[in-house]
Every structure is written in structure tokens, then in C-alpha cells.
Amino acid sequence: MNDDLLLDVRHLKAYFRSKQRTVKAVDDLSFTLKKGEILGLVGESGCGKSTTTKALLRLIGNQKNEYLEGEAFFEGEDLIKKSDKQMQTIRGNKIGFIAQNPMSSLNPVFTIGNQIAEVPQMHQRASKNKAWAIALKMLQKVGISDHESRAKQFSHQFSGGMKQRAVIAMALAGNPSLLIADEPTTALDVTIQAQILDLMVKLRDETHAGVLLITHDLGVVAEVCDRVAVMYAGKIVEQAPVDELFHHPQHPYTKGLLASVPKIGSRKKLIPISGHPPNLYEMQGGCLFQERCPFAFDRCKKTEPPLHKIAEHHHSACHLSSERMNSF
């Protein structure tokens, strides 16, 4: 096995069942993440990005109506097979999680320092004093000025950007080798977003942790990610290194997304993707994108395209791109 490999997800499925129907939120997802790499998971709302992170953290799969299948090897061990108790020692320790909304990930009745110190107290059995020292160090690391007095404050005394910094400090306090960030900058203003993204890249360089970055913003992806996986309706439709994806997109959905985002300085008319994403419980056979795809032909209706290798490190799930490969 490759030593650099940190996370290896194979055929991950996460379904939600109700009496009438089953929603296939994540359907047969496979990807890998190396140490020190930032992998962007992009897609529109409802495509299963967040469900993927929740499945990896095993925050879903314990209820009767939730169904989880597949393998997710993290440092050689399968997360899906772990018991709840085992997961508790991994979550927040080896895997750090940054949620979208920093306002709701902090407890309003504990001081910020207390909440960060809880991590080493829980996972490393650190003494109170030692844990507090770690909390202070973390706050300093994420660039909170005057960190010693700030650690004694509550979340309402922090601004939005500072709260997100505190959440990052908390996620890093266990010294994780994998960091999962679910839309970490969506709730922030652009100038603050630039600061936070800069901080995340810097911390990645320092700690050499792998980062799984969930976002809907192609700009953020282009700026910080090494590799990108584009999701649509619970599946990865294209996966490539960031330059390759932006300059030679293969899947019609990726192409459509890139053409529908306004770019500064370019006056070209936007070409929107027609229609809207499919209902995840009314899926017909064949390619899930066929209804909105300008190039769809009969084969797209019949068989679902598998994720095809079209170049080194570049995969696309489209009959057209695989056909183009075969004709060469």
C-alpha cells in the first residue's frame, strides 16, 4: 500500500429510507486523499457533499432509516466498520471537523479556551493546566491576537471570522492527520474568507494533514485545492488535479458549471445549465445528468457511465469522454 495514502474511500453508499421511498444521497462514491493534500469536493446543494462527510465521521448510519455501505480506509483502518466507541476516539482527535456555521459550532456558555482545552483533556488525558496551555497555543497558531485574554471570553464576544478561527483551533487541537472542512468560509465575508483560506493552507503546510474541503465555490477550489472531485446527484462525475480540471474539463456538467459562473473581467454571456438537479428519489436509469446534458444520446438513457480514466489522474463519468478515448 502507498505510504502517502491517508484516506481511501471505496464504493461508499449512504441512503435514507422512508416508508414510501429511498433517497440515495451518496451512491457508490470512491476517492482517495494523500497526506498533505487538499482535495476539493464541489457540487450544488443536495448533491451529497455534506452527507459524504457525515458518513465518513459516522454521524449517520446509526438510525433505522439510515443505510451505510462501503469501505473508508483511514490510516489503514475501515471507518465504516468501527463501533461507536472506537469512533469517539477518532472524531475530534485524528479527524478534525470544521463546520460551515461557526456560530452554531461553539457552545455559548463555555469560554472559548475551555472548549478548545476539552479536546486534549478528552483525547490525550492531559491535565487541566496542560490542556489550557495547548488551547492558548492553538489560539495563537490560528492568529487570534491577544490570545491569553481572548481564551477567557465567550463566543458572543468574538466576531464571525474570529469564531471560525476558534473552530479551526479546536479542530486542530487533537493534532489530526485528516481535516474535514464543510464549507468553512461560506458564512464569512470575502476579505475574511481570504484570511481563513490563507490560514488553512498555512496550517496544512505546517502539520502536513490531509484536508477534505467541501465547497460550492469554484473560486475557492481554484485557489486552495490540489485535486478536485465534482459531485452530481450523489456521484462523482469528474475527478482531476485542479489545473487539469479548470483548463481541460471533460464532463459536460463540469463544463457547464465553469461556463455558468461569472468571471471578473470577462464580458462573455453566461451559458447556464438548463433545467435543475434531479430528485434523488425519482431517479431513472442511465446517466443522471442526461436530462440537462446538451450532448445526451441513446446510450446515456440506457447505461450509467462508470468513472473512466481518461488521462493520468483524470477520471470522468461520461460516455462521450470514454468514447473519445477509445477512438484514439
Partner: protein, 328 residues
């Protein structure tokens, strides 16, 4: 662009202060200066973009222009008439000519009314008879790309993009001349955003609407606007043509804002101007120039005197001591 420059909206020294605290006598002692001395004009058929971070006063400006909020001071001309001097009845008649497109399409429509009923409302309010109403609605719904057989459905049966189209149709039902669009695409997915932006542009070309387009997203603003105003803490700091703004931004805040936006193009080398700190509280803004606490070029004079609103080049207004000094 070939347009005769006829200012349709003209705003002079517009101010809106919200009282936030009272002294012991029960008099208002502290104000939040949401909009502080803003002057600009919008030509007929033009789109003016307003951009800025959260809390900078862009939405309040939009509301003031529609006279949904009475200004604290300043004058506001709408097609040659002073809005603040109109009687209630006159204002009600003027309201026909101005409309608002909302950010959240789910919240903008009554969930217990069919969209037909929602679309009838504005026309009913202004006493149109049933037959004209039906005809207008049919035309409108066609124009925004929704099939008229859906008219009897309820909002929950539509997707976000479709609801925003219906919201736009309702705003345009009374054939307004001036439309304020307050973050109309912020709640929508990327592939749907482009559809709505293109729709708004097409409708403008057809009916010669004057738009005030409010957004925090500079690339969306760039795509939609003829001229752009940048706001910071209740003040307008720069106003100019969109080309001039992107090619030679003068104000340090505009420069930082432009460099902070993540661009969907990897490898593009950018010298990022990273702003330090966060936006100060608008209740206690810094003395002198509001931006000086985060400005990399701040001088002594910036703390003492508020910069004036000066036309540096034709149609290019800036409020900054440093820029103004450099040009002398």
C-alpha cells in the same frame, strides 16, 4: 454603451441613522449610521451595482431608494420628483413604478397561496380588472420562462430557481420603471444563478428597466452592472464604470476587495492584498476615514479628517486622502 445620460434616480447626501441606545432621559443618544452621506445617480435603463461586505449599508440604501424607510436627512429624486415630499397617496401611486426583488425566493411567496393568486395581488391592489390581470400574468409568466399550466400550483412544488423566476414576475407585474434587486441570486445554486442573471438582463433590454443591483459577490456585480459603487461601513468609497473599477481601482478597499475574491482560474498569479482585522462595529466607527484601521496606506490625516467625495476623473468618484494627495 449608447445611452442618453438622463438621471432617473438622484440621491443627495442621503443619511439613515438607527437609534441603538437611549440616555437616562429617554432620548436617543447613540446611533448606528447605516447609511452616512451617500450621493449618486442612476440613469434611465442603467444598472448600478452596489457591492460591499455584510453590514456596509447596501440593503439599507436599497430600501431608502424605494422609500420603504424614511431617510434621516438628504434628498431623493425619483424621475424628477422629490420622494420625501410626496403625500401618502402620491407616494402610493409612485410605488407602482418601483419594485423589489428579494434574496430568498422561498420566503418571498406566501406558501398558502397558489402562485396565480400571488401574481394577482399587486395588480388587484392597483385596481386592474380580472381580464387584464389574467392577460398580464400569462404574458409575464411566459417572459420568465415558467409554463402557464403551473399557475395553480403552490410554492413548495417549485425549485428555488423557479420560485425566483416567479418572484421576478411578480415584481414586474405592475410594469415598474425602477427595480431594486437585493442579492437576487445569493440563495441559488451556481447553475441556476446564471439563468436568473441572464433573465434579468434580457428583461431589462426588452422593457428598459433601471436596476439597482445589490450583491456581495463582485463577479456577479461585474456581470450585471454598468456602473459600480463600493460601500464600506455606511459610506460609499468609490463609484465608477465597471471597466474602470476592475482595471484601475483607486480606493485601497476596492483594491483589497478585488484581490480577495477567489477566482475560478488556478495558476493565475495574484498579489493578494490581505486585509488585517475585521470590519469595525458600525456603532463606533473609527474617526476620520472609516477604513483607516485596516488600510495598508493609512496616514496621520486619515484619523483626523473624513475624506471628501471627489470626482478624480470623469465619472470616477473616490473618497480617500491618499489617492487624492497622490493626484495633486
Amino acid at each position: 454603451m449608447n445611452r442618453d445620460h438622463k438621471p432617473f434616480i438622484r440621491v443627495n447626501h442621503l443619511k439613515k441613522y438607527f437609534p441603538v441606545a437611549k440616555n437616562w432621559r429617554g432620548k436617543n443618544s447613540q446611533y448606528l449610521k447605516a447609511v452616512d452621506d451617500v450621493s449618486f445617480s442612476i440613469d434611465e435603463g442603467e444598472t448600478l451595482g452596489l457591492v460591499g461586505e455584510s453590514g456596509c449599508g447596501k440593503s439599507t440604501t436599497g430600501r431608502l431608494l424605494l422609500h420603504l424607510l424614511p431617510p434621516t436627512s438628504g434628498s431623493l429624486f425619483f424621475g424628477g420628483q422629490e420622494l420625501t415630499r410626496l403625500s401618502k397617496h402620491e407616494l402610493w401611486q409612485k410605488r407602482r413604478e418601483m419594485q423589489l426583488i428579494f434574496q430568498d425566493p422561498y420566503a418571498a411567496l406566501n406558501p398558502r397561496m397558489t402562485i396565480q393568486a400571488s401574481l394577482h395581488e399587486p395588480l388587484k391592489a392597483y385596481g386592474e380588472d380580472k381580464r387584464t390581470r389574467d392577460a398580464t400574468i400569462k404574458k409575464l409568466i411566459d417572459a420568465v420562462g415558467i409554463s402557464s399550466q403551473y399557475l395553480n400550483r403552490y410554492p413548495h412544488e417549485f425549485s428555488g430557481g423557479q420560485l425566483q423566476r416567479i418572484g421576478i414576475a411578480r415584481s414586474l407585474a405592475l410594469k415598474p420603471k425602477f427595480v431594486v434587486a437585493d442579492e437576487p441570486v445569493a440563495a441559488l445554486d451556481m447553475s441556476i444563478q446564471a439563468q436568473i442573471l441572464n433573465l434579468m438582463k434580457e428583461l431589462q433590454q426588452e422593457f428598459n428597466y433601471t436596476y439597482l443591483f445589490i450583491s456581495h459577490d463582485l463577479s456577479v456585480i461585474d456581470y450585471m452592472s454598468d456602473r459600480i459603487g463600493v460601500m464600506y461601513l455606511g459610506k460609499m468609497v468609490e463609484l465608477t464604470d465597471r471597466d474602470a473599477l476592475y482595471q484601475e481601482p483607486l480606493h485601497p478597499y476596492t483594491q483589497a476587495l478585488l484581490s480577495a475574491i477567489p477566482i475560478a482560474e488556478p495558476q493565475r498569479s495574484k498579489n493578494k492584498i490581505m486585509l488585517k482585522g475585521e470590519i469595525p462595529s458600525p456603532v463606533h466607527p473609527p474617526s476620520g476615514c472609516h477604513f483607516r484601521t485596516r488600510c495598508p496606506f493609512a496616514k496621520a490625516i486619515c484619523a483626523e479628517k473624513e475624506p471628501e467625495w471627489v470626482e478624480m476623473k470623469k465619472g470616477h468618484y473616490v473618497a480617500c486622502h491618499v489617492v487624492q494627495e497622490a493626484h495633486q
